[in-house]
Amino acid sequence: MEPILKLFTDLLPGLSQLPYWLLATLAALIAALVLFGFIAVFALFAIWLERKISAHMQDRLGPMEVGGWHGWAQTIADTLKLLMKEDIIPEKADRILFKLAPMIVFSVSIASFVVLPWSRDFIPADLNVGLLYILSISSLAVIGILMGGWASNNKWSLYGAMRSVAQIVSYEIPISLSLITVILITGTLSMQGIVQSQQGNFLSWNIFHYFPFMFVAFVIYFIASLAEVNRTPFDLPEAESELVAGFHTEYSGMRFAFFFLAEYANMFIVSAIAATAFLGGWLPPFSFLDFIPGPFWFFGKALFLVFVQMWLRWTLPRLRVDQLMYTSWKVLTPFSFVLILIVSFWQLLTL
């Protein structure tokens, strides 16, 4: 917050006369708007990217018409269409919960953006418990999904919602455990602190720490994060061949667009966390590349992971519910426990 306030007062010196609380609120509001704008633009871009990637992986071209060059405006057109659609709420739905659900899901993803470090200076809020904050806030999304699934009063939605709860609750554990290894190494929960501790060239990134153990931790985190954001092969809550569309079967128009937006925002968030915790955040791979600003590296790394998520999605089939649980409880969780053990011992030995 402080750098942003400083930016404010530098730009408009008159503002510094305002009381601090007003200034802070204003700055927070503007930051929130910028974030919202970023999410919206990123989601539009990511959807377009996903269409293009899937199309080219499948020997197609994807959208080519709207906007000229490779259909770049297709998702904008789609969003406009979704926004203008009639707002349908099923008759037997629980109206309040039904309306609340997409808002919760979306605000949760916005809230997670708060602690993402974009560069040395730019971080909306450098909490000293940043990692903990992001872990706890991101698990709130499941409430929104459960709400949506329940309130739709549709059996398929309910199935999707129940699956989603079971899935996210169990995958929280390998995620947290694999991030604990990072905390063991860096000794801080602050996102900025985690990045700072990875200074140097790319070999000092956490992923290459204690090779290959931290690499395994990264893989575990990545797999579990796929489940956290309901991406293939863990897209059971919306498994279209089984549950029609899962928890958002009954949603249409703008509310559906919010679920969609949140999904892509979440993809970015989990990738951004991975980039921060394992891939050195906004640090360049070689120190002579320092002249390129941090956000470029941060965004690039996160985007690369988003690409891998999409790549996986268009390659793999979907797991079954019991296999999903098996993967979490019997494979990822024990492995991450073992990793914690190894990392702690290694720490002790090198003390």
């Binding site: 061949s241 089939p317 797991l319 098996y326």
Partner: protein, 388 residues
């Protein structure tokens, strides 16, 4: 990764203490549902994710083919027959044409015989490609679907060139075929085979041997051989259960006895014999065998007039016949009754998918909802044929 559980049937007879007792969840899967492959409705009673009973309700696509056929003249039935199993029109009309020819005692021109084999085997590949794609979709993999359709498109182009139709061909007629092959068509068929055979490896890399796919399908929906026979299953669904039975070999029709090919049966490579993976893999292997038949037929085809034996007026003597052929989905039988008139008196179709689907309630019990989708997909049903 995960071990697949075969829930014992007794699971539902367990005594559940009263406060924990829950109602069964009744679900309508279909008639509009992404993975019922058409307008099939399956009434599910579930206990959480576990299916306690699945009852298929069919008839949403009933187009009264059998009643229609009674009004049509003999050649006019062919377009209707095409529309039953719209993914394998050639095989459908082949069965009908053979049945009527047998009643008439008609000998078909050699070249037409070979053309028939080529197109029906091509159609078998096309149909199995659709199966491959939709089965991938059923278990959540999207990409194989488009790869399958990419190859199928080339087959359809070939069909369009020879018959003019892209989906419903009306090509195989009573007494021969509608057109002779255009110049260079047979070379194109050979080219297609060269192009197609390496693609099988791609499907295998992408889907068949993918661990997640194996986990989703192996040991799921196991149909033992005796049950399969008792339910009248046929085609790849029966062969997946390890029964070596292919009408092209066991009850040869046309000129299939002149070709060298293998009958692929399920061996339980990844799980139990007769599971969904076996049924899937039988079809993959069958595509290779079909390509083999096509190559032989293209090499052996004689010159001649393919339309030579097509009668101008079809007169079928009074009598009746049950004739069966092997379509991509299994044994397609025509029971035709004629009274010597210009219309058939009765055309009853024994649709393979009709019998294959009837086993669903027996295998679905105790599986999970996701497994039900995998089982339904592995039966490879076409509702156009079931409802007729």
């Amino acid at each position: 990764m995960a071990q697949t559980n075969n829930f014992p049937e007794t699971r539902f007879e367990l005594e559940i203490p009263d406060p924990l007792k829950t109602d069964e969840f009744i679900l309508n899967m279909g008639p509009q549902h992404p993975s019922t492959h058409g307008v099939l409705r399956v009434l599910l009673k579930t206990d959480g994710e576990i299916v306690e009973s699945a009852t298929p309700y069919i008839g949403y696509l009933h187009r009264t083919f059998e009643k229609h056929a009674e009004r049509m003249t003999w050649p006019q039935v062919v377009p209707y027959v095409d529309r039953m199993d719209y993914l394998a029109s050639m095989n459908n009309s082949l069965g009908y044409a053979l049945a009527v020819e047998k009643m008439m005692g008609l000998e078909v021109n050699e070249r037409a015989q070979y053309l028939r084999i080529i197109v029906s085997e091509l159609n078998r590949i096309a149909s199995h490609l659709v199966f491959l794609g939709t089965y991938g979709l059923d278990v959540g993999a999207f990409t194989p679907f488009l790869y399958g359709f990419r190859e199928r498109e080339r087959i359809i182009d070939l069909f369009e060139e020879i018959s003019g139709g892209r989906l419903l061909y009306n090509y195989i007629w009573i007494g021969g075929v509608a057109f002779d092959a255009p110049d260079g068509w047979l070379e194109k068929v050979n080219e297609f085979c060269d192009y197609f055979e390496p693609k099988i490896k791609e499907y295998n890399d992408l889907l068949t041997f993918n661990k997640i796919f194996i986990e989703r399908t192996a040991n799921v929906g196991v149909i033992p051989a005796d049950l399969a026979i008792n339910y009248g299953l046929s085609g790849p669904t029966l062969r997946g259960s390890g029964v070596n039975f292919d009408l092209r070999k066991n009850d040869p029709y046309c000129i299939y006895d002149r070709f060298d090919f293998n009958v692929c049966i399920g061996k339980g490579e990844q799980g139990t014999v007769g599971d969904s993976w076996d049924r899937y893999y039988v079809r993959i292997e069958e595509m290779v065998e079909s390509a083999k038949i096509i190559r032989q037929a293209v090499n052996q085809i004689p010159d001649g007039d393919a339309k030579e034996t097509v009668p101008r007026n079809v007169r079928v003597p009074a009598g009746e016949i049950y004739f069966r052929t092997e379509t991509p989905r299994g044994e397609l039988g025509y029971y035709i009754v004629s009274d010597g008139g210009k219309n058939p008196v009765r055309v009853k179709v024994r649709a393979p998918a009709f019998c294959n689907l009837s086993i669903l309630p027996a295998v679905a019990r105790g599986t999970m909802v996701a497994d039900l989708v995998a089982i339904l997909g592995s039966l490879d049903i076409v509702l156009g044929e079931i409802d007729r």
